[in-house]
Symmetry: C2
Subunit: 483 residues, 2 copies
C-alpha cells in the first residue's frame, strides 16, 4: 500500500492501468447497461478478454466461461458484475487466478445503510488485502483508459488524450467524458471508484501527478476519508499540473444524497475549499463549470489578462454578451480609436458597432470568411485585448435555408478561426449557441469537431465561456502563488 | 397618442396588430436575411400582401411593385427594408396610401452615433407624427403575431399562444421565440421595436396588459426614455398578469453596447430593479433565465411551496441535482418514512436511494413506465413536497442501442409523465439533459414536443429548472404583496 508520496505511486500502481488480461464476471448477455465486454472490445483491448457467465457459451464472439475458475491461465484484472452475495466466492477464485485488481461494478454494500451489507463490504476488502488484491469500488464503473484499451461504457472516444478524471460517481464520469468529449477533450485515465474501500482519490491523485500522459487533472469527489493524505496528494498534483475539482454534497441535501450514493460523509465545504486553495486546486460548483473549466484549461495554454474582445452578430446578443463577460469579472475594454477606424473601413455602418462588443453582420459563409477573419485579427492588435470571444450559431441564417451546405460552411468557419488564432498570438474562444431543435445539429457538431481539431475551445453560452476564462485566470494566479 | 392609461391602449393600438394589408418595401429578391414576405406568407396572412422592389416583377408568387405608390389601393401597414436615405420619400408615399403604421427594419439612424443620421431619424418621426402614421422602430424586426398572420422571420410556430414578448432587440426576439418555442411556449404578440422613436415599451406594456390573448408578458429592454410612464405601464400590466423583464446593459460594458445598438441609455440597474419590484415585475439577468422563467410561469399555474422531490437515475446526477436545487433556495426534504417504505417495495436496493433525491434505476422503456410513474405518484403524496423534478436524458442507455425505437420511448415517457401529473395535484417539471452530439436529438425533440402537449415544463439542466422554480415562487409572493 503506497501510503507515502515519497515512494512512487506511479510505479506502484502502474499495473492497475495496464492489465494483460481481463475477465468480466457476470458479463451481460443482453444489451442492457453494464456492457463492459462490448465497451472493452470497442476500445481495441489487445490482451486476453474473458466473459464469464454460466448462462452463455459465447458472448460478442468470445468464448464465455461458466465461472472465473474455468478461465484458462491467469487473469490480471477482474470486473465483478455479479450480485453482492456472490462476491466472497469470486474473491477466492480471483486469488487462484493471481488477480491483481478487482473492480466491483457490483453495488449494494455500505451505501445502502444496511448493517449486513456494510459488513460484507468490510469483510470483502479485508480478504482482498490478505490476498494482495487491490480493489476499485465497489459500486462504480471502474476504468476508461483508451491507451490501454479499457472502457466502462460503449461509445467513448478511442483516441487517448491528456486529461485525467477521478470520479466517485460512474454517472458523472460518463457525463463528464461525453460532455467534455464533445468539445474535443480526450483522456489519459478516467477512474470511477465509487465507495473507494481500498484505492481511492488520494491514490489516483498521486498516480496522475506523476503520469506523463496526464496534463490536467479533473475530479468529482463526494467525501474524503483521510483528509491530510488527500491534501498531500492534491498538493503534489497541483504543484505539477492544473487540478479542478467538482465537490458533490456541498449542501445539506446534497450531503444526504452522497451518504446514500457512496456512503460518503460530505463534510464541510469551507474546510474542503480551504484545503483546495492551500493545495493550489480549483473547486467548481456544477458539472457544466467542470466541463467548461477543463475545456478552457486544455485548449488555452496561457491567458495573459482579463481583456476580452467580443465579436459576433446581433445587437441584442452583443449587449447580453458584454453583460455576461463583465459580470464574470472580466473586462470588455472599448477598442482604441485606430482599431475602430480600421474596422470601420469594411464594416457596414447600419446595424453594427465596432467599439467592443464588435457587433458585425459579416458572418461565415455566403460572402466568404475574410471579413470576419480580418475583424478578429484587427481587434487582437489592441493591447488591452487578451482573448477573443467569437459568438455564433448554426440554427438560423442562410445556412438553414438550403442555399449553401451548412456542414461545409461550419467546417470552413472553424478552419478560418484556427488560422486567425495562429496568426495572432492571442487565444480565440468560440461560443456556439446550441441548435434549438433537430435543425442545425449536424452543422454545430461538425463545427465543434473541426474547432477542436484546430485547437479552439468552444462553449455553448457566452456566460459559460466567461466563467471558464475567469476560472482559468484565477487558477493561473493560484498556481503562481504556490510556485 | 395614448399618454394616459385611463383611455384604453388596447382599443387605441388594436389597428397596429391587425392590419388588413401589408407592403414590404425593399422586399428581398434573394433568400438572404430579412425575408419578411416569405415569413408572412408562411404565417398564412389573409389580407393583401404587396412586395415592393423595382428589381423584380414577381416575388414568391406575388406581383412585385416598383414603388409603394404603384401598389393598388390603401396599405395599412408598411415594412421598410430600404436604406435610410430613401426613407423620407417612402413616408410621403405611405401617407398617400393612408398607411397607419410603418415598421422600419431599416437601420443606420441615431444608434450609429452619427449626427446626420440622428437628424434624419428625428425628422422622419416628426413627419410621421404630422401625417398621423405610427412608427415601429427603426432598427428592429417588427411584429410576429401568429393570430394575425404576421411574422418577422421564417420558421416561427404558426399556432398562437398566450405569451407576449416586448423586445428592443430583433436578435433577442428571435432567440427567445425559438428557445422558449422549443419548450412549447407559444405567442400572442411579439414586438421588436429597436430604437423606439414613437411606439415603445410603455405603449406595448399598456396594450398587453389589456390584451385578452396575453396571459404572461416577457420583455427585453435596454433603456427606458420616460421612466415614470414606463413604471405606470409595467405596474398596470403586473397587476393583471405575470411580467418578467430581461434588462440589457446591466454592466458598464453592456451599457456601452446598448448605446451602439439602439441608442439607449442603459441607466442604473438599482433604479430599474427598484422600479420592477415596486411594479410587481421580475427582472432576470440572462436570456436563459428569461426563457426558463417564462416556461415555468406558462406551465405551472401555482407552486404551493419550495419542497422539491428530485427523481431520476444516477447517484452522481442525484447528488449534484440536490446541491443545485438547494443552492437555488428551494428545499429537498427527506421523504417521510412511510413514503420511503412504499418506494422500497419495488425499488431495487443496489445502487439506488429512496430518501430524496430518489435515485432510481427504473427508467423509461424496456420494463415499461409503471415503476417510474408509481415512484412519482408516491413521492407526491408527501406533504412536504410541492413539486416533482424528474431528470432524464436520451443520449445514452438502451434507447441509443437500437433495442427499442428511441422516439417512441420518448413520446410514451412524456405521455406517462403528463398522466401522473394530472393524477397527483402537484406540478411535475422535467429536466432533459441535452444530447451531446447528433445522437439522441430526435428523441429529445420528440420528448419535448410531447411533454409540452401534456402541459409539462421542461428544462435543459437541473440548476436552470431550480432557478426558474425559485423565480416563480418569488414572483408569486411579489404579486401577492402587490394585490
Amino acid at each position: 500500500m503506497t501510503e507515502s508520496t515519497s515512494t512512487s505511486a506511479y510505479d506502484a500502481l502502474g499495473f492497475v492501468f495496464h492489465p494483460r488480461s481481463v475477465a468480466v464476471v457476470g458479463a451481460s448477455t443482453s444489451q442492457g447497461p453494464g456492457g463492459f465486454v462490448e465497451a472493452i472490445l470497442e476500445m481495441g483491448f489487445d490482451g486476453a478478454l474473458y466473459p464469464v457467465n454460466p448462462k452463455a457459451s459465447e458472448l460478442a464472439g468470445l468464448t464465455c466461461y461458466p465461472s472465473l475458475a474455468d478461465v484458462p491461465g491467469d487473469v490480471d484484472y477482474v470486473i465483478s458484475s455479479i450480485p453482492a452475495p456472490l462476491v466472497p466466492q469470486l474473491v477466492e477464485d480471483a486469488a487462484a487466478k493471481k488477480t491483481k485488481v478487482i473492480h466491483f461494478f457490483t453495488a449494494g454494500f455500505s451505501e445502502t445503510g444496511d448493517d449486513e451489507r456494510a459488513d460484507l463490504e468490510s469483510k470483502t476488502v479485508a480478504r482482498c488485502r490478505e490476498l494482495g488484491i487491490r480493489v476499485i469500488g465497489p459500486n462504480c464503473m471502474g476504468l476508461y483508459v483508451p491507451a490501454a484499451g479499457l472502457s466502462f461504457m460503449p461509445g467513448m472516444p478511442r483516441e487517448p488524450g491528456s486529461v485525467a478524471f477521478i470520479s466517485q460517481s460512474g454517472a458523472n464520469a460518463g457525463e463528464f467524458c461525453r460532455a467534455a468529449g464533445a468539445r474535443g477533450v480526450r483522456y489519459s485515465k478516467v477512474i470511477s471508484y465509487g465507495n473507494g474501500v481500498d484505492l481511492r482519490e488520494a491514490d489516483f491523485f498521486e498516480y496522475c501527478a506523476e503520469d506523463p500522459d496526464t496534463d490536467v487533472i479533473a475530479a468529482y469527489i463526494e467525501g474524503v476519508k483521510d483528509g491530510p493524505r488527500f491534501l498531500r496528494a492534491v498538493s503534489l498534483a497541483a504543484s505539477r499540473k492544473p487540478v479542478i475539482i467538482l465537490k458533490g454534497g456541498r449542501t445539506e441535501a446534497g450531503g444526504r444524497a452522497t451518504a446514500s450514493h457512496t456512503g460518503s460523509l460530505a463534510g464541510s465545504l469551507q474546510i474542503f475549499d480551504a484545503a483546495c486553495r492551500q493545495a493550489g486546486a480549483i473547486r467548481v460548483d456544477t458539472m457544466d463549470q467542470l466541463v467548461d473549466a477543463v475545456t478552457a484549461t486544455r485548449f488555452i495554454s496561457r491567458l495573459s489578462g482579463p481583456g476580452v474582445a467580443i465579436i459576433g452578430g446581433g445587437g441584442g446578443h452583443s449587449v447580453l454578451a458584454a453583460d455576461e463577460v463583465a459580470s464574470a469579472g472580466l473586462r470588455v475594454p472599448a477598442l482604441p480609436q485606430e482599431v475602430q477606424r480600421k474596422l470601420m473601413d469594411f464594416t457596414p455602418v447600419a446595424g453594427t458597432s465596432v467599439r467592443n462588443p464588435v457587433d458585425t453582420n459579416v458572418g461565415f459563409g455566403l460572402q466568404g470568411n475574410k471579413a470576419i477573419s480580418d475583424t478578429i485579427r484587427i481587434a487582437a492588435e489592441a493591447e488591452e485585448i487578451d482573448v477573443i470571444l467569437y459568438h455564433t450559431s448554426f440554427s438560423w441564417g442562410p445556412a438553414t435555408r438550403g442555399v449553401v451546405d451548412p456542414v461545409k460552411l461550419a467546417r470552413e468557419g472553424a478552419v478560418m478561426l484556427g488560422e486567425v488564432m495562429r496568426e495572432t498570438d492571442k487565444p480565440v474562444v468560440v461560443v456556439v449557441r446550441p441548435p434549438l431543435g433537430a435543425h442545425g445539429v449536424e452543422a454545430t457538431v461538425a463545427f465543434q469537431d473541426e474547432a477542436a481539431a484546430q485547437g479552439l475551445a468552444t462553449f455553448p453560452a457566452v456566460g459559460r465561456a466567461a466563467d471558464a476564462l475567469a476560472t482559468l485566470l484565477w487558477a493561473q494566479r493560484l498556481r503562481q502563488e504556490g510556485a
